[in-house]
């Protein structure tokens, strides 16, 4: 069985919906570096469950609203 690990995210969208936060502001509020937010938005880095939950809690959405698996599990 091949399991996809490609994950897309709506971080950028929710960042703008939350008062057009800058990446640095979001990073400060979540407690990570700006570089982490940059890598997340570019899809270069899949966050840990803890960080995904923290981001979802911050935006007051479900984790699935922020992060989605792309492609099909085979």
């Amino acid at each position: 069985m091949k399991v996809t690990t490609d994950i897309s995210n709506a971080l950028r969208k929710y960042r703008f919906l939350s008062g057009e936060l800058t990446q640095q502001e979001l990073a400060n509020k979540i407690g990570v570096s700006r570089q982490t937010i940059v890598a997340l938005e570019k899809g270069q880095y899949n966050p840990s469950v803890a960080l995904a939950l923290r981001l979802a809690a911050f935006f007051k959405v479900n984790v699935e609203d922020l992060f989605q698996l792309t492609g099909e599990d085979q």
Partner: protein
């Protein structure tokens, strides 16, 4: 030129960078022993982070560090092997620079293997398998080298017995097994007289024996003794 990235450097990064630069400067102008300062700057923060004392990185930075370390070990390991192979071409002995490189290679390999086994299986299972494999290889070596002398083969085989016994104990009574392993390591240190060396070459040989034999015992023993209750496998209740 954009130099704004400098303000993003952490305090630890700045101190480490300064130490690295200072160490190199003093080493090439006064004495190579000042390279120890460079070592403190280059590797000190990493040790402090692993010990949980320095918490200046988030998960993404740590992942980048781990990836960098893995790739560095691949390059450093293969480069060291190539250098040893070329330095000692036509010879079967390790000595001088090649022995020093072999020591570095041994550390790299042992730490990589132990860390990955420990992360993958947990401390108890990793220690059990390491001791079992170690004992088995030693036993095979004894059987092959003494198969024409049954008495000495039997006698030497007894030396391997504690490793299998400790492997078994490590699953059931990890802390006791750990303490015994540490004592065994200290005993072997004095038995092999690793504290005394008459020449630089002997010092290197002693270091090699210490790393290949004593260190694994001390590290596995300490890991078992320091095992947290919630990490402990309850073998007795599982019947295995």
């Amino acid at each position: 030129m954009n130099i704004l990235w400098i303000k993003n450097l952490s305090r630890a990064g700045l101190i480490a960078g300064t130490l690295v630069f200072l160490g190199i400067l003093l080493a090439v102008t006064i004495d190579m022993r000042f390279l120890i300062i460079t070592g403190l700057g280059a590797f000190g923060p990493g040790f402090l982070r692993e010990l949980g004392i320095l918490r200046d990185q988030d998960e993404f930075a740590r992942l980048a560090n781990y990836r960098a370390g893995y790739i560095a070990s691949l390059f450093a390991g293969s480069t060291a092997i190539l250098i040893i192979a070329f330095l000692k071409a036509g010879s079967v002995d390790l000595e001088g620079e090649s022995l020093a490189l072999a020591i570095i290679l041994s550390i790299l390999w042992l730490v990589t293997v132990f860390t990955s086994l420990q992360k993958f299986w947990g401390i108890q299972k990793a220690v059990f398998r390491i001791l079992t494999v170690f004992g088995t290889f030693w036993l095979i070596f004894i059987l092959l080298s003494h198969f024409q002398e049954p008495v000495s083969m039997l006698m030497e085989s007894l030396v391997v017995l504690p490793f299998f016994l400790l492997a078994w104990m490590s699953r059931r009574w990890p802390r006791i097994a750990g303490a015994v392993i540490i004592v065994l390591g200290i005993f072997c240190f004095f038995l092999f007289r690793l504290y005394s060396a008459a020449s630089d070459e002997k010092i290197l040989v002693n270091i090699m024996v210490f790393i290949l034999f004593i260190c694994p015992l001390l590290v596995t023993g300490t890991a078992l003794v320091a095992l947290k209750p919630d990490e402990e496998e309850i073998i007795a209740n599982k019947g295995g």
